[in-house]
Amino acid sequence: MQSFIATFSRRSMLRACAAAFIVAAGVGTALAQSQPPVTMAINQSPWLNSFVAMVEEYENETGNKIELDVTPFGGLLEKIRNSVRGGQGAYDIVNVNSLWLSEIYSGGFLAPLGDVQAGYGLPEGVLTYGDTTNWDAEAGTFTGGGALMGVPVNGNVQVLYYNTDIYAKLGLHPPKTWDELLANAQAIQKEGEAYGFVPRAARDSIVYNFTPYLFSHDAAFFRITDSGKADVVVNSPEALKALQTYVKLATESGPPGPGNIAQGELIQLLATGKGAQAIAVIAAWGQLEDPNASRVVGKIDAALLPAGPAGTVASSAGHWVAGIPRNVPPEKQKAALAFLDWFAAKERQVDYVRAGGVPVRGDITGADLGDDAAFRFIGAYSQNAQHAVMGLPFAQASEASDAMALSLNRAVISEMTPAQALNQAAADLAGVLERNGFAVTKLPDL
């Protein structure tokens, strides 16, 4: 019945033609055995082309097929949920964003990689971005000791972008601390040609963007003290300092209306040269270096995020991890793992960067890339990647993030003082934790 109703696919014809043209493997030794074709759910994105290039390389080398089902970013989570929750999954590999990892891991939808291939471990040098490749079901969080659940496919962490022209003109240097960043911003703002610092304080991503400030001040949203017990610490004095710094940077030396600045506007300001400094994900680099999309080609550089009072650096992890669902046949799971393992090797990662991707290894240097100025971000990236953190490493991360976002956003638009905002955020976070079975202790109100 299905074959009558299902549509005839132009793509299958194209695929047949393409298969006829595949050159027999001559380079590389990779996987000798042939694997069944594998379907992967992935989002359309600027780095997709580089990933596609790697997929093609894999197909040429081994003759194994990887099918990519490309979805809009806004719909990928729903598609993944639908597939992994069903009886028979539609995808053999799912590309999971860091923000969704805890939900997908805690649901038990993915097959631990150690189950797919006995004793499998991540190759040496592959980053774990705050242990987010592992999950401890008992503790309900990411720990190094937990089971290995996925392989990163895109290492998107935050870096500090700055405009080298403006720096040179005003004699500035990449800041080492938040105070230095603020000083730079004020100097630039006074000069008048560009905004000193562009915040990203729109409600839907403010928790993610506040995380590096919070963690670099040695504070956190909450801490799990014991199994089932949580300590809400988002309204600590250190956190207050962090939020005050955040609000100051957002409101005093940047564009007006920070409460509605989302990623699009931030990149727009950087790319047109009207924003001099900003903290954003490294994946935006491609746009800033594209002459069709940017006026500051060659004039942008990346640096390590500023350190807090005690010297701690934190960068919010926005990376992607590929997992293998449980509800697909074992042969497909093995084929999926074969591809992911191939992908994580160092030579492949160098190819990946050359094709425009962000590597998932911390051991790639400028020298590996021939010291090409187009990849000058690699040093800052590797540094920031070592300090990647996940702000809300537990199953109900999205719920908690949504709950706190409003108070933080209100602080930025001055509808609340930072102290009020943090107290409210603490109350909301405690509510979420309690509703999900934690015994919660809170700090006294600020």
């Binding site: 109703i5 359309q44 994105s45 979805t71 809009p72 806004g74 729903e78 598609k79 047109t272």
Partner: protein
């Protein structure tokens, strides 16, 4: 209606004023299809002309836009045809014929209730239903769900158009011994053609621009235009150029349909004038 000169000038000004407010942003959006991204985001009025967006949209490895246009057309036409036929017949029966009140209440009440719920709350159920019978990603699934999704509005619209028909005609035909079916086909149907065309246009537009249902129920081979365009609104890189190019290409079939429908409106009027 003839007008005095003063009010005619006023009417014209108002009309062309509306047209300007609508055309302005639309033309700007469409012009973005031919610009580089940097020119779009800086709002440059004069900028170099480029085909790069169409290239990306039509010929890149990840985008199969012409197939998406075809999918949208197939789904749109099929679901609209179903909706209009079902809605017109039901509207006629509910409005003009003797139907038990509880039937009318139940059907209309349920239709309205269903229409008031947000679409995204039951798209998940539909996914479950269709994938459990193996119909996920098929044309059939999307056509049927689009049809039932647009049915309430079409039903109520057709009821208002049928309700505007003069009762005497219907009575006369009934008294002449026509069966219900004959009354419908010979009398009611020709006279509501004008309203039918408006309802058809709206239903088609709703199906064509639906995103929530198509996102969940289509697979790569049946992806529709709104989902395809949405893939260019990426996490941190909104590709305005490709989106505008996609819009330009998708407006053409939609507008064609509407302009063709215009002729039918006029012809439908002439038929109605022969009362």
């Amino acid at each position: 209606m003839t007008l005095r000169l003063g009010s005619r000038i006023l009417a014209n000004t108002v009309v062309w004023g509306y047209a300007l407010v609508i055309l302005g942003p639309t033309l700007w959006v469409l012009s973005n299809a031919f610009k580089f991204k940097i020119d779009i985001i800086t709002g440059a009025t004069i900028s170099p002309f480029t085909w790069i967006n169409f290239n990306e949209l039509l010929f890149s490895r990840q985008s199969d836009f012409l197939a998406n246009l075809l999918n949208s057309a197939v789904i749109g036409i099929a679901s609209t045809a179903i909706v209009i036929v079902v809605a017109t017949m039901a509207a006629f029966t509910l409005t003009c014929l003797d139907v038990r009140p509880w039937v009318r209440w139940a059907l209309l009440g349920w239709a309205l209730l269903f229409h008031m719920l947000p679409t995204l709350t039951f798209v998940g159920s539909w996914y479950l239903m269709f994938s459990s019978v193996g119909l996920h990603g098929t044309y059939f699934a999307v056509i049927m769900t689009h049809a039932v999704h647009n049915l309430p509005m079409a039903l109520f619209l057709m009821m208002s158009f049928v309700g505007a028909l003069p009762r005497e005609l219907i009575q006369a035909a009934r008294m002449d011994g026509c069966s219900y079916g004959q009354v419908f086909w010979r009398i009611a149907f020709p006279l509501v053609r004008g309203g039918m065309i408006a309802a058809t246009a709206l239903t088609f537009i709703f199906s064509w621009s639906d995103f929530a249902i198509s996102l969940t129920l289509t697979s790569r081979d049946t992806m529709t235009v709104p989902v395809a365009i949405a893939t260019f609104a990426q996490e941190y890189d909104i590709r305005y150029g490709e989106m505008a190019a996609g819009t330009l290409l998708s407006i053409v079939p939609a507008l064609l349909l509407i302009l063709l429908g215009q002729n039918f409106i006029v012809r439908g009027l002439l038929a109605g004038a022969v009362k």
